[in-house]
């Protein structure tokens, strides 16, 4: 090593590190996608990185690069990967529009599907149910059944009509 090299130090390291610090946000997204791909491949029978490359019609090296988590993936690539794996790699958390219901019902009314429904404004219903809940109403004898899906757990609550 020459004297000048000592002064400079390992420039490659410095470049790599600056890149990682500067691009942390999207690198994090890329890493999360890579880890999810790895987990999905792991669960699939007779499916590996090579099969993924074949399904995507790309080289195995390309898949290997994606799994390193340092690729700035396009939305098209993410879509193709999701299709190839049969698994949605990205999803969007609910935001305000997700909670605005466009129809209001009265208790005792029947919707078009002959389902019995609440007397409540959509705002009130939404206030009482958490963000991630999905709600269904259906007629069951003399009760209204509300199915709630809270963080992956399913609860049901019966209210006498």
């Amino acid at each position: 090593m020459k004297k000048n090299d000592i002064k400079k130090g390992n420039k490659d390291w410095s470049k790599k590190l600056k890149f990682r610090v500067k691009n942390q946000k999207w690198l994090d997204y890329s890493a999360k996608i890579a880890m999810r791909i790895d987990a999905v491949i792991e669960d699939k029978i007779n499916f590996n990185q090579l099969s993924l490359a074949e399904t995507l019609k790309v080289s195995p090296q390309q898949v290997s690069k994606i799994l390193k988590g340092e690729q700035n993936l396009t939305l098209k690539t993410i879509g193709n990967l999701s299709d190839a794996l049969g698994f949605e790699l990205i999803s969007f958390p609910p935001y305000k529009d997700s909670y605005i219901r466009l129809m209001q019902f009265e208790i005792g009314d029947y919707s078009n599907n002959n389902e019995i429904v609440f007397k409540s404004s959509s705002n009130e219903i939404n206030k009482n149910l958490n963000a991630n809940q999905t709600k269904e109403t259906s007629q069951k004898d003399e009760c209204i059944v509300i199915s709630m899906n809270m963080d992956g757990r399913t609860n049901s609550k019966e209210i006498a009509s």
Binding site: M1, K2, K3, D5, I6, K7, G9, N10, D12, W13, S14, K16, L17, K18, R20, V21, Q24, D28, A31, K32, A34, M35, D38, A39, L67, K68, G69, E70
Partner: protein, 193 residues
């Protein structure tokens, strides 16, 4: 064993790293950060060692939470090291002296060929899982010997941390045997290489 510079000033003060034959003399520091920045490696490593994670040392966490914490540690460490690289020999709280602590918790900083470690302080009550190990040659001069994702309280409790402890000892003996006592010796070494 070989040595290489990571970032140093004109007097050779700064961060150096060992390069080991078993890894084709790749810079150990570079090798570790390349590995730790590979998300699939992190996921698989933690999954393989899930029994250690479930041992309770890091609390009741999921695999995904452990991955997030490890990756967060790596990102913060990279930023701190980058800051230290522009603060060599400066007397502030962002230099190398502030990053490394004696390897043995009760030891006082400043012994010859001192074994040191770099770990992040607790963050939101979460213990840092990443460690970098080094030998402190003199003030502001450190030589990386290795690093580990530490999943257990005692280094003796996991094969990887046992190995890191051995590497520290070997590195210390090698530096002693080759009369590296100050950064000047490193300068001579690089000029001869």
């Amino acid at each position: 064993m070989k040595l290489t510079t990571i970032f140093v000033d004109e007097n050779c003060k700064g961060l150096h790293s060992f390069c080991y034959k078993e890894h084709d003399f790749l810079c150990e520091f570079d090798r570790l950060f390349n590995l730790w920045n590979n998300p699939v490696y992190i996921r698989r490593y933690l999954k393989e060692n899930i029994s250690y994670l479930q041992g309770g040392f890091y609390g009741d966490i999921t695999l995904e939470e452990a991955i997030t914490e490890v990756r967060r540690d790596i990102q913060v460490m990279q930023s701190e090291i980058l800051r230290a690289s522009i603060n060599i020999s400066k007397r502030n709280d962002e230099n190398l002296e502030c990053l490394f602590r004696p390897f043995h918790n009760l030891e006082i900083q400043g012994k010859d060929y001192q074994e040191v470690k770099y770990k992040l302080e607790k963050w939101e009550y979460k213990k840092s899982k990443i460690r970098l190990y080094a030998i402190r040659l003199s003030q502001d001069t450190f030589i990386i010997t290795g690093g580990a994702i530490k999943l257990v309280k005692l280094m003796e409790d996991h094969v990887d941390t046992v190995k890191e402890k051995e590497k520290l000892k070997l590195a210390r003996n090698w530096l002693k045997a080759n009369d590296f006592l100050f950064e000047d010796n490193l300068k001579e070494y690089y000029e001869e290489e």
